[in-house]
């Protein structure tokens, strides 16, 4: 399978790998997983007082496309407000990296990771968040 140069670049030189303090008030943490391939993705955002995302870090265990997708979105969310970050769509990620159809779920995972991180940040700041209410899925 031929992968795009951008994808390979993000895979070979992933941006913003790392962790932030998940208990810090200005940090939002999103953890998501893709059962189909067993990929696990953690995306963290650090939000300034003006609501703008100052920094982002990720840690992903998965295939090259999952790593590239998370690396890309950490670059994209920086400088955006949390609400602007929510507008990032998986189709944009897939298009930018020219993901093959079988790897589209990696871009979905990255989009969901942003949503989860923003939801976590907002929940720390008292906003009512319904985007990622777990419902049945979190029931043990």
């Amino acid at each position: 399978m031929a992968y795009s140069e951008k994808l390979l670049d993000h895979y070979e030189h992933p941006r913003n790998v790392g962790s932030m303090d998940k208990d810090a008030a200005e940090v939002g943490t999103g953890m998501v997983g893709a059962p189909a391939c067993g990929d696990v993705m953690k995306l963290q955002i650090k939000v300034g007082k003006d609501g703008v995302i100052e920094d982002a870090k990720f840690k992903t265990y998965g295939c090259g496309s999952a790593i590239a997708s998370s690396s890309l979105v950490t670059e994209w969310v920086k400088g955006k407000t949390v609400d602007q970050a929510l507008e990032i769509k998986n189709t944009q990620i897939a298009e930018e990296l020219a993901l093959p159809p079988v790897k589209i779920h990696c871009s979905i995972l990255a989009e969901d990771a942003i949503k989860a991180a923003v939801a976590d940040y907002k929940s720390k700041h008292g906003a009512v968040v319904e985007t990622l209410a777990c419902g049945e899925n979190c029931k043990e």
Binding site: M31, G33, P35, G38, I108, L109, D112, N137, K139
Partner: protein, 181 residues
């Protein structure tokens, strides 16, 4: 003993092997029924028949094999059973897992990756033992959720968890291979 004439493509996998439709099955009985059916539908037996008959024979043999592989695997059996109840396990689309589960997955993957880099087979063996134990626990939960409680939504969530466990087992095996080579 089943006759070829009564072979029904409309039967589901459980009916095909004469098993009750439940998560918990008698695997010895499944193996036995499979061997009997396999002998019955083997395409060699139709080699002297017209093309259409031979094609049918091939389709029967394929279905028997597919059904056997599905029922033999706890994960695939659960997924199939849920599909019979109209429940999609959403393994492709559902990315929301319980947070503690995902955290634990992250730790598992880190531990496997560290053991692989340190070429530490003893650590891998420990991880594998723990993984097998937790996998069996999940399978036991599935039995309760599907057969006793008939809580198929909860069972679908357990299937998704099992997929992660399956991936972990693959990662551990890949780590063993990397150390051996």
């Amino acid at each position: 003993m089943m006759q070829l004439a009564s072979f029904d493509f409309q039967h589901n996998h459980f009916q095909l092997f004469g098993l009750a439709q439940s998560y918990q099955i008698d695997t010895a009985q499944l193996d036995q029924q499979y061997r009997a059916l396999q002998a019955l539908v083997h395409p060699d037996k139709s080699a002297h028949l017209p093309d259409a008959e031979q094609r049918l024979a091939m389709q029967r043999a394929t279905l028997v094999n597919e059904a056997y592989q599905t029922l033999r695997s706890p994960l695939r059996r659960a997924r199939y059973l849920l599909s019979l109840h109209g429940v999609d396990t959403q393994e492709e689309t559902n990315t929301v897992m319980p947070l503690d589960f995902l955290m634990a997955q992250m730790e598992w993957r880190e531990a496997v990756s560290e053991a692989r880099q340190a070429r530490d087979e003893a650590a891998l063996a420990q991880l594998e033992t723990r993984l097998q134990r937790e996998t069996r626990e999940l399978e036991a939960q599935l039995a309760v959720k599907i057969d006793a409680e008939k809580d198929y939504a909860a069972a679908a969530a357990s299937v998704r968890k099992l997929r992660f466990m399956e991936k972990l087992a693959e990662e551990i095996h890949a780590a063993y291979d990397a150390i051996d080579n």
